[in-house]
Symmetry: C2
Subunit: 387 residues, 2 copies
Amino acid sequence: MRDVCVIGIGQTPIGELWDMSLRDLAAKALRDAMKDAGLDGPPEALFVANMLAPRLSNQAHLGALIADFTGWRGIEAVTVEAACASGGAAFQQAYRAVASGLMDVVAVCGVEKMTDATTSPVTSALATAADADFEGAHGASFVALNALVMQRYMYEYRVPHESFAPFSINAHQNAINNPNAMFRRAINEQIYKNAPVIADPINLYDSSPICDGAAAMVLCPLEMARELNQHVPVRVLASVTATDCLDLAGRHDLLGLEAARGSAKKAYEKSGLSPQDIDVFEVHDAFSIMAALSLEAAGFAERGKGTSLALDGEITPQGKVPISTMGGLKGRGHPVGATGVYELVDVVTQLRGEAAANQVPNAEVGMSQNIGGTGATVVTHILQRLS
Amino acid sequence: MRDVCVIGIGQTPIGELWDMSLRDLAAKALRDAMKDAGLDGPPEALFVANMLAPRLSNQAHLGALIADFTGWRGIEAVTVEAACASGGAAFQQAYRAVASGLMDVVAVCGVEKMTDATTSPVTSALATAADADFEGAHGASFVALNALVMQRYMYEYRVPHESFAPFSINAHQNAINNPNAMFRRAINEQIYKNAPVIADPINLYDSSPICDGAAAMVLCPLEMARELNQHVPVRVLASVTATDCLDLAGRHDLLGLEAARGSAKKAYEKSGLSPQDIDVFEVHDAFSIMAALSLEAAGFAERGKGTSLALDGEITPQGKVPISTMGGLKGRGHPVGATGVYELVDVVTQLRGEAAANQVPNAEVGMSQNIGGTGATVVTHILQRLS
């Protein structure tokens, strides 16, 4: 087992990118990440994270496709999928390829092209993250399932809908300063309150957008990162995946987000850290409710108190638990299969001190929690800036 | 880096399994593999190989789904996809998780449910293995693309169509003795010759069937395999993936199957072996032409001589290069995402000496070559029986 560092990051802007295809997006992010790493030539392997291409672009087999299009024909390449947690899961395989000593330089790329789907409606494609037999077959869309969870949270903890406003306000505020974010405009409580309802109680500003984008990273052993000396090395301290059942009805603890709790707990054990040591936390705020649940499951707030933390202003870059620091899934955007990689790119950006106006002061340890489905797969990563 | 062994194998019969769903199939194969390993309780991680569920069953996110349904809620689980090479690619990630020292007991499951597709025709779903923009968009089906390659092979090497008959005859003959095979009946040259054409020159007997099935394996470190002492340990000597471009028009060498050649070459280097040392070779005979090309690319026959090897009777269990020993993709069946795992299960069956009437005498070293698309991803594994 070797120490592994992130030495390169790359990303495309997120949006409705009509002039770029799936492979264009991926190749751009990958080339940028290799350039950022200061490396020429192909990596030894490429791990692609994607969820929807087989449905929306009639394209499976992205590993070889993207490796070739990036100019790396011949290298090992494969796709890793865990619904919206695909990015974190792909990063984990890349991390292991280096940690094992089998490979030195590997690349990860999360890519999703959601806006020019020809074959399948995006809503049905996204529903494949839920249980097709127990949920999808009954017509439950992905937003509807999240709405059930939010409804239960509001009932159980006596929390009004407006308590979730700070999550969206913080995300939009941070997105303004991120040139790659989709929604670079502020919102306020009034705008949040007046937003149209998508699936009661989830409104427009509780939801992340349908969009295109790709993010990429390059990993190598710690010694090599020191030799290259291109950036301050960012080391992977923990990489943990945990799962739960897909269907909400089968959960032992609907609001407990057990896979998030389980993977965070193991990640703390592996790194020897606790929530107090985390300077920046990139949550999976696909819906506001998931941000609240993730904060609670990862130990940053007690059960039912996730929204209080937000209302107290502690989730901003100046707060105790800065989240969605580059806009999160809500403001930056949520190209689903790519999101886990974007989250990690944002963590690295913070740890390198390159977050400009959104910089969390003295960020040394960062965490990301990438959630698949309504919480059935959760991948937690803890990264640390070395000096 | 630790030595890794296969200690458990499981499989469902292959066929039109109307009474079993995707998750039923996977859980059955996984439970059988754990039982075969002599282990109780969950593995530390599950790697699922699947290609078509998002299209044919409206279901992505199979890792968590199958882990939960098998009774292993909570464990790490993820899906690995590389078109028809998904099985080999998933096995590779499982191998690394153990080799790295990060995990002791991991499971792999390849599963595909092709026969009760409700949303998308199987032919369009299979075409996602090819290049959607350069091939699929023009209406090229997967069998049509393979037909182009076969056409070129026959022209280039002056090989008549009937030279491919021995591949199908051998596969069907071996399938008779495999209780899990789909087509347990012999064919002869006359039947092959009179078969209806699917896409000229590919006929019915040059093609593998559309079917359902799941295969599973359990891996652990060598020392643990020795302690458990449930079966003769089968060690992984090499695990190599190589890629090429997806589209046939972009290949540097259409008949060279460069990814197959590249991955076989590296696998020989890693294991210190050569083709002469391989006692059994499970090829990816999705179409007869792919069996011929794989034999040539892996060094068992010179270019253009793959069919000669077959005509000389050398591909039967008693020959110099036994292939498709349990029926192969043609006779046993080709549930695409599961196939790579079935190939490895067959290799282990041979190395354990459990192949009954199809046993290759004194099989000590076995190889599998799992091909994705028309050769864009190729995963080669070499396994060895220890004493």
